[in-house]
């Protein structure tokens, strides 16, 4: 750890150790009167690309002429707008992914390749680049699902999110074919925030990135076309609790600043390693920062929002945020733990263990009793956060490598899994397509109605369950193996037990799809609205699902090359 960061720090600031105390004379990093800031644009490329595209996308949205309807004040956008917006989003994220890939290839062979830029506010090192790459790939796949719509022209988003659900206005907007193209700039801002998040070199940048990624997600959560009330409830809850979580993060930052006199991670890390015995103020501050991050990854007991928000959000958004937010937030968690806490392992270990065990157990046991597929995957996401935490907690190169592998494979499979859910719609007794069929009952017999879709979903579920020949198995093997090796075997044992129990609820969906008869649409399912069936769309979702499936199987059958890639990155970091 210190092999990279501390020499870099010493070189940059001349600050070797930091004496304890609130009023220490901080060595100024930048001499007074020299506001010149050196920015390494090539290292910032991916972030700049996505955020720039987000701004451009917003401008396009504002500039597009809309046909006004005098009576209802409906503003219908031209048909080309969604095409342009989708293209801008897809191309920019794909370009960001390529730039990140190029950076990754570049650093892969180098040692000590951390770049500090923007006056130390941004750290571009292998961890940053890997997380940015993973976020960009998952966001790209997520955008395919977001941009898709059924052959009837139905996408996942409300025509006018601010309309009162079920109102006359909303119905007219739907009939006029209004669609919500604001989705694309919002997703781009969120993606940009997620890519900046792990690159943050100080707590302020980190907080700004956190908010840049969170605020668009709060909005997006409320935009579901169907089940509008549930969606708006999800949005509000996410916003309230998210604000609560951010407050803890900010509060923690203040405490840490108070204890160390710096907001820069490297300086905090140096102060921590030099100060023994540790200041309770510093410890509590760090715990509060961790709480903010635990909230974002959905770790227990800061997980309560997850099921409601995952269920209520438009499904493509659920997939996007489940994958990308988790990757980004875990990236920051790794950054904080590996850059700041190494000297604190002993003190923070009980906290990490507690959260890890609670997350695995609670996610698994509540997941067992769910009757809604989306909600079930939400609890599954919680349990997976716990599994990844076991790798993170082991604080070793193997643990880091395993966590990175896990994050990417889980993210990709999550996009695919929610993509499938987005495609399974209710058909009522008259044969009309309705909203998504998320009730487990509605999925019964799906294997007969939509065999390819059901088969694909089954493979994602097997991957979540950690069955061999899927990437989920390799990922679990890597993190649990690292936990065993680093002496955290109790964690690994709990993880294995929870995996075994969780396999039960994944298998239940598979059984429902393939081994149960379709329910009677008029009788048993009259309330929930009919059986689910795979819907025909433009085919973008199928592309995303196909790519996810390919990653899941390839990384399950021949994981060696990817594991050696993450191991290489981990060696550079430690």
């Amino acid at each position: 750890m210190s092999a990279v960061f501390l020499p870099a720090l010493t070189a940059l600031t001349g600050l070797a150790t930091h004496p304890r105390g609130l009023v220490d004379p901080v060595v100024p990093v930048v001499p007074a009167g020299a506001p010149e800031i050196d920015i390494d644009w090539s290292a910032l490329g991916p972030v700049v690309m996505v955020l720039g595209a987000a701004v451009a996308s917003t401008l396009i949205e504002a500039a597009a002429s809309r046909q006004k309807d005098k009576d209802q004040r409906l503003a219908v956008q031209p048909a080309y707008l969604r095409v342009i917006q989708a293209a801008v989003a897809l191309v920019s994220v794909a370009a960001a992914a390529l730039m990140a890939l190029q950076l990754a290839v570049k650093v892969h062979g180098e040692d000590g390749s951390a770049v500090l830029t923007a006056n130390g506010a941004v750290i571009v090192d292998p961890l940053t680049i890997y997380i940015q790459l993973a976020v960009a790939v998952c966001a790209l796949l997520g955008l395919f699902v977001i941009a898709d719509r059924t052959v009837q022209g139905d996408d996942a988003f409300a025509p006018q999110a601010s309309a009162v659900p079920g109102s006359d206005y909303e119905n007219k907007a739907r009939r006029r074919g209004m669609t919500q193209t604001d989705v694309y700039p919002l997703v781009l801002f969120a993606t940009g925030g997620m890519m900046l998040f792990p690159a943050a070199g100080d707590l302020i940048t980190m907080f700004v990135a956190l908010e840049v990624l969170s605020l668009p997600l709060y909005l997006l959560a409320g935009m579901a076309r169907h089940r509008r009330l549930l969606s708006q409830e999800a949005s509000l809850k996410y916003f309230l609790l998210g604000a609560f979580g951010s407050a803890f993060f900010l509060f923690g930052g203040a405490w840490v600043y108070g204890a160390t006199g710096s907001l820069k991670l490297l300086e905090i890390g140096a102060a921590v390693s030099g100060a023994t015995p540790l200041d309770p103020i510093l410890l509590v501050g760090l715990v509060l920062i961790l709480v903010g991050l635990f909230f974002k990854v959905g770790a227990v007991p800061f997980h309560s929002w997850t099921p409601d928000v995952y269920q209520g959000s438009p499904t493509p958004i659920t997939g996007f945020m489940a994958a990308c937010t988790k990757i980004a937030a875990f990236g920051v968690l790794l950054r904080v733990l590996y850059a700041v806490v190494p000297g604190l392992t002993w003190d923070l270990e009980p906290v990490l263990w507690t959260v890890s065990v609670l997350t695995m157990v609670v996610g698994t046991v509540i997941g067992l009793v769910q009757k809604d597929v989306k909600r079930m995957l939400a609890y599954s996401a919680i349990a997976h956060a716990g599994f990844i935490l076991t790798g993170v907690t082991s604080m070793s190169a193997d643990g880091l490598s395993g966590s990175l592998f896990y994050l990417f494979t889980y993210g990709v499979a999550t996009i695919g899994g929610f993509g499938v859910i987005a495609l399974v719609r209710e058909v009522d007794s008259d044969g009309h397509l309705r909203g998504e069929a998320t009730g487990l009952d509605q999925w019964r017999g799906l294997g007969k109605r939509s065999p390819v879709l059901a088969g694909t979903f089954a493979i994602f579920l097997l991957s979540f369950a950690g069955i061999p020949l899927t990437s989920g198995f390799v990922a679990k093997f890597a993190v649990f193996g690292a936990a065993f090796a680093s002496g955290a075997s109790p964690l690994a044992v709990v993880g294995l037990a929870c995996s075994a129990a969780a396999a039960f609820f994944y298998a239940r969906v598979i059984v429902a799809m393939f081994f149960e008869e379709a329910p009677d649409a008029t009788g048993q399912l009259a309330e929930s609205g009919g059986i689910g069936i795979g819907v025909r769309t433009l085919g973008l979702t199928q592309i995303a699902i196909g790519v996810s499936l390919a990653f899941t199987l390839v990384l399950g059958i021949v994981p060696g090359w990817f594991l050696s890639f993450t191991e290489g990155l981990s060696r550079l970091l430690s």
Partner: protein
């Protein structure tokens, strides 16, 4: 004293030896092509198959001529093709061993194989899946050549499984008929039992010798304990029993006749079923030091040769009678292989001559079936000598060869085996008498049942059904039969004249010739007398003008009834293995259902109960969620501060 060349070949391989991987690659590529291209290749698929087999023969012949041009001490050549399984301290290479033994097999397999390919063009003409048939035949040839050319037990095992697969596919070629599919499955299962022996043998080699190549294993065997070698030997014997249809794994061979007749000729008579004999002979340096395992091999061979002969006497199905005869003849080879290096040479010699005359007879049987609308019941044949002259004459050569009448091929090879069987190991005179007499008596029975078969098919009165109009087969079928019959006549003589034993001996460990317990000429004379008696009994019952052959099997005594039922092998297998096996499976299933699944269900129930309890916290109110978070913060802060106190 042991010939060092056999143990670790370190001579530089010649160019021809280095190229001899082509004999495997050509038919393999052809098989892959025919299977991948599919129906589009229907028009020319059989031609490609024949060409591939013939090309393989040409390359093999080149390597063979090249080998003969080398000094004797440099004829065993190991060629490493590529690193197959790199494993840190233990690397496994894909390599081939080109020596006198493997090239003998290469020549036999590719020559007989090519003839049978040609024969099949006509035989399978009206089958819509002829291309697939040729693909499987090519696959078989490639796998068989890999088996005999391998330079390690693992590579050999790949070929071993490959021929098993090809055999399975070809027995069940007409799998739309249930009993054929069942026959294929039976062969597959019986072979798997043998494969366990092969795997166990390799496990012991790996754990004890840390080597799996022939060179490494044979070198280590020099210093290994007798018990280890005996275990390996017995495991290899089990493998050989499965592949070569030796007692007690013999039951599949008769049913394997369900495959098209060219398959029976190539795989289940001439080549694949002899792989067990090859394995035992090739593993000579192991058996050399374990008299116990050798005795087991000899005993198995002796039992099987009698078993096959007895069954052969009672079979009315022409192909099944030939199958019983094959089993019995391989029993002879196995017996010889167990007698040591000298016996091993005669085992291989008999294997080669048998490959010709038995393949020739099977092709003759196919020709008869072709003429008689797929009839196989010999009681409905008779007097075919006039209708099918070529088939009759070529079959007669094979018949005289298997009887061991001088100067036909079988005389030279089988008589030597019988003579060797009379050679007793030091201090074990009884062995010489027991095995010698069994082998000699077996020759008499062989003469009876083969003559019975020959006379019932070709001599006597016509007992055809009304719609049968026998005719000679086309040239594509008769020419291979004629070539093979030439082998039946002259091959034994040729091999003796060119001193095949001296050619092959350097590839095996050095043995010494012992004296038989009875004078060699007395043995030869007694054997011939028994053969003539057996043939004469058959003539009087089935061949002479006065003999009456009923078209339905007559009532018979217990032994004949037992022989008709293959000595109740299926009933015994059923009672000893299948029934207890099924009971075991049912028990395991029940345990799994009740105990294992019960525990899982119980665990799931507990977890679900916990889930219902905990999920009450998830009540949907943002305020209580926030409260949970706050409680969590306080908890974590308390934990971290408690650590400081």
């Amino acid at each position: 004293m042991i010939n060092n060349v056999v143990l670790a070949a370190e001579v530089a391989a010649s160019q021809a030896a280095q190229m001899s991987w082509l004999v495997i690659a050509i038919p393999l590529a052809s098989a892959g092509l025919l299977l991948l291209v599919g129906r589009a290749a229907d028009k020319w698929g059989h031609l490609l198959g024949v060409t591939a087999s013939a090309a393989s023969f040409v390359v093999g012949a080149w390597a063979f001529v090249d080998l003969l041009s080398r000094p004797v001490a440099e004829r065993v050549q190991d060629v490493t093709l590529f690193k197959w399984i790199p494993g840190g301290t233990f690397d496994l290479n894909m390599g081939i061993r080109v020596d006198q033994l493997s090239l003998t097999f290469v020549m036999l397999v590719t020559f007989v194989g090519t003839l049978i390919h040609i024969y099949s063009i006509a035989y399978m003409e009206h089958d819509r899946d002829r291309r697939r048939f040729f693909a499987y035949l090519n696959l078989f040839v490639a796998a068989m050549l890999l088996l005999v050319l391998a330079d390690s037990y693992v590579v050999l095992f790949v070929g071993w499984e490959g021929v098993g697969l090809a055999s399975y596919l070809l027995i069940g070629f007409w799998n739309h008929r249930l009993e054929y599919a069942v026959a294929a499955k039976k062969a597959f299962v019986a072979n798997r039992v043998g494969d366990v022996g092969m795997i166990v043998a390799m496990m012991i080699m790996f754990s004890q010798f840390h080597a799996l190549s022939f060179a490494g294993v044979f070198e280590a065997a020099e210093h290994a304990s007798g018990a280890t070698l005996t275990l390996i030997g017995l495991a290899l014997l089990l493998a050989a029993c499965g592949k070569s249809a030796q007692f007690p794994l013999q039951s599949w061979l008769g049913d394997a006749m369900a495959g098209p007749t060219p398959v029976s000729a190539l795989i289940h008579a001439a080549t694949m079923v002899t792989a067990g004999v090859y394995l035992v002979v090739r593993s000579g340096p192991i058996f050399e030091h374990t008299p116990a395992a050798r005795l087991a091999v000899v005993t198995i061979g002796a039992i099987t040769l009698l078993y096959g002969a007895i069954v052969g006497c009672a079979k009315d199905d022409m192909k099944k009678a030939l199958a019983a005869s094959t089993m019995s003849q391989i029993g002879y080879m196995m017996l010889a292989a167990g007698l040591g290096p000298v016996g091993g040479i005669f085992a291989i010699m008999h294997l080669v001559t048998h490959g010709f005359f038995k393949a020739g007879m099977f092709l003759g049987a196919g020709s008869v079936m072709h003429a008689m609308k797929d009839q196989v019941d010999m009681r409905r044949f008779g007097a075919l000598n006039k209708a099918m002259k070529v088939t009759w004459l070529t079959f007669m050569m094979g018949w005289l060869a298997i009887l061991g009448i001088p100067p036909f091929a079988g005389f030279f090879s089988k008589d030597k085996i019988i003579e060797q069987a009379f050679v007793a190991p030091e201090g074990q005179v009884w062995q010489g008498w027991v095995f010698g007499l069994v082998a000699m008596f077996g020759a008499g029975i062989t003469a009876f049942y083969m003559s019975r078969l020959f006379f019932m098919v070709f001599q006597g009165k016509a007992r055809w059904t009304d719609e049968q109009h026998p005719h000679e087969s086309p040239g594509l079928m008769t020419v291979p039969m004629i070539i093979l019959s030439l082998g039946s006549v002259f091959l034994g003589l040729i091999l003796t004249v060119v001193k095949f034993d001296e050619y092959l001996a350097p590839a095996l460990v050095e043995g010494h010739h012992g004296e038989p317990v009875m004078n060699a000429y007395v043995i030869m004379g007694a054997t011939l007398a028994l053969v003539v008696i057996g043939a004469w009994i058959a003539w009087s019952k089935f061949g002479s003008a006065k003999a009456v052959v009923p078209t339905l099997p007559p009532a018979a005594d217990g032994l004949v009834r037992a022989a008709r039922e293959d000595l109740y092998q299926d009933a015994i297998n059923d009672a000893l293995l299948v029934k207890p096996g099924q009971a075991l499976v049912r028990g395991a299933t029940k345990t799994d259902d009740d105990v294992v699944d019960g525990a899982v269900r119980g665990l799931a129930w507990v977890f679900q109960g916990m889930g219902s309890l905990v999920s009450r916290i998830q009540n949907g109110y943002a305020r209580s969620y926030a409260a949970t978070m706050l409680a969590g913060v306080i908890l974590l802060a308390a934990i971290v501060l408690a650590g400081r106190m």
